[in-house]
């Protein structure tokens, strides 16, 4: 049966015509081409790399940025794109998040005019793939303790250190790398093939199997002096990129939750036990009432957050609230849906278990659930509890 998108509070009525058209366009592409192929990619541990070309042709990369071949859409439209990508798989949304929010955004915001001209148009078309190196093997939630360094030379910078859990690292043409220069965090652009830079893929994941996850290693890696992001200084710079990506995640996981809800509902309405559909039993109905309510709350949180962001008023703590709530609820809903599907839910004909596995990563990356709790705790009470 065709996917039916839950919209219990008629939220579509609050979206603009172009936002709806953008969402439906991405939905069509996803249903036509990616939904049928995703389970095999997940099983084989391969990334559908044609996503770069397909989303590039749609102008979906950097969609909410202005100029340089970007579409200049609303942030709400960017959120809706993420929702449709993640309805198929978190790996596809991760690909887009990294390209748009973590690679194009820092270049667009802090890059020199020359850097913007050089990279952004190709990145918008999906011809240049980016990645973002902040997390290190020993510094995840505590990025300020990073050990990667940059040393100034006559002609540029020498970078040493390593970065971990980097989406798209192995396939990236350009890495936005954060390193300490004289003790201060700065952003650098490292091109694939630079001597001393390698990006091996991390294998054997249970989660995000259709996404490339890598380690970045820098051993006396020398880059030219024009490859420093001139205006990105201090931890605030990478954190503001994370705010963009977290915003996209808050929207994206709605898609995963909607997919799980829809397939569980269709199954429960048709699966007969004790002479009637299992959807007719109260224990299942409680789950559907819970899932529908939580999805509606997730949608409303994001809709308002999108409005605030479009007006330039969204705060990073508001983004934390949406990321924290929506990922945790999506993960819960994926688990519930898997339960409703019974034994059928453990095979790849259904997507709930794949979504649940993926969402375990989403729960951890871009600020763990716990860190977002502490960010909110700090903002609400005025006391910092993470240190």
């Amino acid at each position: 049966m065709a996917f039916k998108a839950i919209d219990y509070y008629n939220i579509d009525e609050l979206l603009g015509d172009s936002e709806l058209l953008i969402r439906d366009t991405v939905r069509s592409l996803m249903e036509d081409k990616y939904q049928p192929a995703i389970a095999k990619h997940f099983n084989d541990g391969t990334c559908p790399l044609e996503i770069a070309k397909d989303l590039g042709e749609l102008n979906a990369f950097g969609v909410n940025l202005e100029g340089y071949g970007c579409a200049g859409s609303s942030d709400t439209a960017y959120g809706l794109i993420n929702q449709e990508l993640e309805r198929v798989d978190s790996a596809l949304r991760s690909f887009s998040s990294v390209q748009t929010s973590l690679s194009m955004y820092p270049i667009h915001r802090w890059g020199s005019g020359e850097q913007k001209e050089r990279y952004l148009p190709g990145m918008a078309k999906g011809e240049i793939i980016g990645c973002f190196g902040l997390t290190e093997p020993d510094h995840g939630s505590d990025p300020s303790g990073m050990k990667t360094t940059a040393q100034k030379t006559d002609s540029g910078y020498i970078i040493n250190g390593s970065k971990m859990w980097i989406t798209n690292g192995t396939i990236a043409d350009i890495a936005v790398v954060w390193a300490k220069l004289d003790g201060e965090i700065r952003g650098f652009l490292v091109e694939k093939g630079t001597d001393g830079y390698t990006a091996p893929e991390i294998k054997n994941k249970f989660s995000l199997r259709a996404s490339v996850t890598s380690e970045l290693s820098f051993l006396d890696c020398e880059i030219p002096k024009e490859n420093i992001l001139p205006d990105a200084v201090g931890l605030k710079a990478p954190l503001s990129c994370l705010t963009q990506a977290r915003y996209g995640i808050a929207w994206g996981v709605i898609g995963a939750a909607m997919a799980c809800f829809d397939e569980a509902l269709q199954y429960a309405q048709e699966r007969i036990q004790f002479g009637k559909p299992i959807a007719a039993f109260q224990l299942q109905q409680e789950k559907f009432a819970y899932m529908a309510t939580e999805i509606t709350k997730m949608q409303l949180l994001c809709l308002r957050l999108g409005q605030l962001k479009d007006a330039g008023k969204a705060t990073h703590t508001q983004v934390s609230m949406a990321k924290r709530n929506n990922v945790a609820e999506a993960l819960k809903i994926a688990g519930m849906a898997r339960g409703i599907l019974g034994a059928a839910g453990i095979v790849d004909e259904y997507s709930a278990m794949r979504h649940a596995c993926n969402l375990e990563s989403v729960y951890t990356y871009e600020g763990t659930h716990d860190i977002h709790t502490l960010i909110l705790g700090h903002d609400i009470t005025g006391f910092k509890a993470y240190r």
């Binding site: 015509d17 058209l21 069509s28 042709e57 859409s73």
Partner: protein
């Protein structure tokens, strides 16, 4: 060249259609660009992209609501959109619809006209050809291959036992069949650009027609009633031993279903 693509607003093929008091209930139904019209738009865009001075126009006849569908069609990459908006549109038969479109075409001008071979809602398959006749243009319907060279159109259409090849000068009307091309997705940049492109809404008066020309007044055909298809009775499972169930099956097919 001014290439005009005729576009109809139709219910989404996945929409659940319900009938109330002999009329189709439209609340909750999503409306889309008639899928066959998309082949025409794609062909027009291909001509434009191949080079030369070409403009691609979208022309729609419908109620005010059809503006959204006109804009969706424009988002595929068209330069300009035109909607003849009139509340009588749902009551117009193929003849009247063609009359309205022909009048609008005369108003905006054209060098080439594309449309779908049929609309997926009423399946009348007449409008494109009627437009051509009213404008005294050549036409080819149900086309699955199209070429334009030196102001001459060469098209192919599937006929029983083979392909028919037709050549004719422009302007002409082509109605498009599945397989003609692979319609693109609208790019997000084009979606964003629609609101900045010229979009014109005509009244009947603007194109030289009046209320007497359209709707029930101007139509030869009147739809008196819609009825949903009869609901299928649920299947029956015959249980028991194979010998008995086989006998019962034969008896049911002979006496109840009367098919053997």
């Amino acid at each position: 060249m001014k290439i005009v693509c005729l576009v109809k607003e139709v219910p989404d093929s996945e929409a659940k259609i319900t009938v109330e008091n002999g009329k189709i209930k439209e609340t909750g139904v999503k409306f889309i660009v008639n899928p066959y019209d998309e082949y025409g738009i794609e062909e027009a865009l291909k001509i434009k992209e191949a080079g030369g001075e070409h403009q691609v126009f979208i022309l729609t006849f419908g109620t005010e609501r059809a503006k959204k569908v006109m804009e969706s069609a424009m988002a595929l990459g068209a330069d300009e959109g035109f909607l003849v908006a009139d509340g009588s549109a749902p009551d117009c038969d193929s003849h009247t619809t063609a009359k309205v479109l022909a009048a609008a075409l005369n108003k905006i001008g054209f060098d080439m006209i594309f449309c779908g071979k049929q609309a997926i809602d009423d399946d009348s398959s007449q409008v494109g050809v009627r437009v051509a006749e009213m404008l005294s243009l050549g036409h080819a319907s149900v086309v699955n291959k199209f070429e334009l060279t030196d102001g001459k159109v060469k098209v192919e259409r599937q006929i029983q036992g083979g392909q028919e090849v037709i050549e004719m000068p422009v302007p002409c009307v082509i109605t498009c069949q599945k397989g003609l091309n692979d319609p693109r997705y609208p790019s997000l940049k084009n979606i964003m650009a629609v609101k900045k492109k010229p979009r014109t809404v005509f009244t009947l008066d603007d194109i030289g027609l009046s209320a007497d020309d359209v709707g029930v007044n101007g139509s030869f055909v009147e739809v008196t009633k819609f009825e949903p298809p009869l609901e299928k009775a649920p299947g029956r499972v015959i249980e028991g031993e194979p010998e008995d169930t086989a006998k019962e099956l034969i008896r049911s097919l002979r006496e109840e279903a009367k098919v053997i």
